[in-house]
Symmetry: none
Subunit: 226 residues, 2 copies
DNA sequence: AGTCTTTTTCACGATTCTGAACGAAATTTA
DNA sequence: TAAATTTCGTTCAGAATCGTGAAAAAGACT
């Protein structure tokens, strides 16, 4: 289970990290909201622990942006020093899923994190996002980004990339591609695959440093980071 | 707001009752699970405060029966002396919505009760109202507004929009739409879907800045803000 | 009958797909 | 090493498909 903790007080942060790690969780720390948000773009987390009081952008704002901007449904547990009703209600309005008033016992935190994860698992079976290196493919929105930049693909190009991303670091033959992307299972003497790989490369690798689709002469292609 | 408190320790019970009443709530006490369950059959409550340790039937069992037997979705706040993880996870499994470890400050209880009520109200509300960006769909009144302005739709148009709003930010294929809105599950070579999307666009996007229904060539359509 | 809603059809333009052609690169053969 | 062969990358133009809007036809309801 991956947890992102956004908390500026370093001793509190490392206290939480240590405790959660002792319970078998993988914990990433962010000491401010912006860092947290960019981490969320890079990787998927199961639960976010978010302090309300943060430098610059406060926790509510961060929470709001997680929902509205990043469109993530990852459950958020808010940590708050102020346990007044109004403040908390505000938290829920911004899309927090639970809150915990400081100071708290670690057991409390642990239980809540587990409960949030549990609740979430039941609701959303899978977040349909494929990732490879800095390429991200949202299978619901059929949207692809590389290093955060949107890359518009036609449907055939998209399907081809999806096949690559479902078989990363693995040489794929032209036949396999034809079968799985074009639905053809006989060799029509065509080079469509070559052409489309070329299209993909143009869209996916131009303006970027690293090449990701490499050809393996006589065998096919492979999606590999450098 | 009606609260049912199921708690056998009379001094704790009356302490809670008094406090909640001071905050304008109507509180009913039950000193054991059976009494609580029968009260729930007679009247509707907004929130249930339930002690885990009760004579005869324990709190988890009561919670379980509230969900499985009475089929009530009334939010349950569990009071527990044991804040160990396992016990609490068990509580959530039985359908509790939140918990509070004894001893607690009254403020904590109050906040949680309010939060539960609030969450519940929102859920019930959103059961009949769908929102996306500035579009609001009242499913009881079958009425749609955008930016507060009413938009009159025919029933087919309404059903189509409803399907979109239930699958926001997700590419929907023509087939899916045909199946779910027209109830056809074979490909009659028609472009009704295209036509109706077009109707929706006319009614929903003319006179407004932002387009919300976008076509994804070769794949279908997507309801997406901007 | 008359209005409103729904379905179907059509045509144009835009996008996407595909095969062919050819040079470049890699591999094999001589 | 050089030549021959195979494989690959790229470009391009025609073909096929798809999206859109309008308009006509069919159906439902009053």
């Amino acid at each position: 289970m991956n947890i992102l903790v956004i908390e500026d007080e370093k001793n509190v942060a490392s206290f939480i990290k240590k405790g959660l790690e002792e319970n078998g969780m993988i914990v990433t720390l962010a000491y401010d909201g912006e860092t947290g948000l960019s981490l969320l773009q890079e990787q998927e987390y199961n639960v976010i622990v978010l302090d309300v009081i943060l430098p610059q952008v406060n926790g509510w704002e961060v929470c709001n942006r997680i929902r509205k901007q990043l469109r993530l449904k990852t459950p958020v547990l808010m940590l708050t020093a102020l346990s007044s009703t109004d403040n908390l209600v505000k938290g829920f309005e911004q899309g927090a899923d639970d809150y915990l008033a400081k100071p708290f016992k670690f057991q409390e935190l642990l239980v809540r994190v587990k409960a949030l994860d549990r609740r979430n698992r039941n609701q959303v079976a899978t977040q349909s996002v494929l990732r490879f290196d800095d390429i991200e493919m949202n299978m619901e929105q059929k949207m692809v980004t590389r290093a955060g930049k949107e890359i518009k693909l036609t449907s055939r190009e998209y399907n081809l990339l999806e096949f690559f991303m479902k078989n990363p670091n693995k040489v794929i033959s032209r036949m396999e591609i034809l079968e799985n992307v074009w639905g053809v299972n006989f060799d029509l003497g065509t080079n469509v695959v070559d052409v489309y790989v070329n299209y993909l490369r143009n869209k996916l690798e131009k303006n970027f440093e690293k090449k990701v689709i490499q050809t393996v002469v006589g065998m096919g292609y492979i999606l590999r980071a450098n």
